[in-house]
Symmetry: C2
Subunit: 162 residues, 2 copies
């Protein structure tokens, strides 16, 4: 039976880094931020596949072809403890609607449960209705009172300087 | 001169866990979520102060009295690499307006720069105008297109089960 399965989910390895970079760029394009990916292969290999990985990845394959991925890492809630932060969940457009995103997320949920994480958190763009409906169908909660803040580059340096 | 300084920022230790728990509850109260803190001291000691800490904390002291804290951990952007996620930033009400929150955040910014993090990200409640104005004054960016999603408890188990 195993050979007839069209969908397989496997852990990403250092050999997947060129593929992951392509996925990141495709996701950035979908999120209307082309050019936002400034990370390079060397950094990804060092950060994700060394002695203390800063993230983990899953690759979804359909008939042996990589067509989606999930990228996640641990976060910490001071109220509830260890959780998993899902940074990216992506399936190539031609392969959507086949349950591949659900299978990736389901695997992340199994990892979360196995590791004693209380939950998985992530973000969704407010115009991405199919994704929002999908997450609602899973019983996910939305926290719309919260605004995202980022401090980087010159602003980070100014603050670090005092 | 050192003795005349009213404000000191120091790293949190395992001995601060009872204090941190009090702070977490005060912050939850401020965020209109009293009773949301279900974590306990044993978990916090194991998770924060063992061989592989899942978070780090800073304590702010005013005239030797602990009156605020910051709690943070590493996150990973697939576009930009390593960053710091600021989970909590809190100063007791009677001590606000003295630059203590800024001093805590400034120390986090120094740690971020020292560790090669591209930036610090965090969240703010949309009704917390003083905080929003403060973050804007630092040059922080707001990402209001993104909605927060959380999957936990029964919904997490259902997804993990397939």
């Amino acid at each position: 039976m195993e050979e007839s399965l069209m969908l397989a989910i496997r852990a990403a390895t250092a050999g997947d880094v060129p593929l992951l970079l392509r996925f990141f760029r495709e996701l950035a394009e979908f999120e209307r931020q082309p050019g936002a990916v400034i990370i390079n292969q060397e950094t990804l290999i060092a950060d994700g596949f060394g002695a203390q990985p800063k993230f983990r990845g899953l690759i979804a394959e359909w008939d042996g072809q990589a067509i989606g991925y999930a990228l996640f890492f641990g976060f910490y809630s001071s109220w509830k403890g260890s959780g998993i932060f899902l940074e990216d969940l992506f399936v190539r457009e031609a392969f959507r609607g086949r349950g591949i995103g659900r299978a990736l997320l389901s695997e992340v949920a199994r990892i979360a449960r196995q590791e004693g994480s209380f939950g998985i958190r992530w973000e969704v763009l407010d115009w991405n209705e199919p994704a929002i409906q999908f997450y609602k169908s899973l019983g996910a909660e939305f926290f719309d009172e919260w605004r995202q803040v980022l401090l980087e580059a010159d602003a980070l340096n100014r603050l670090a300087d005092g």
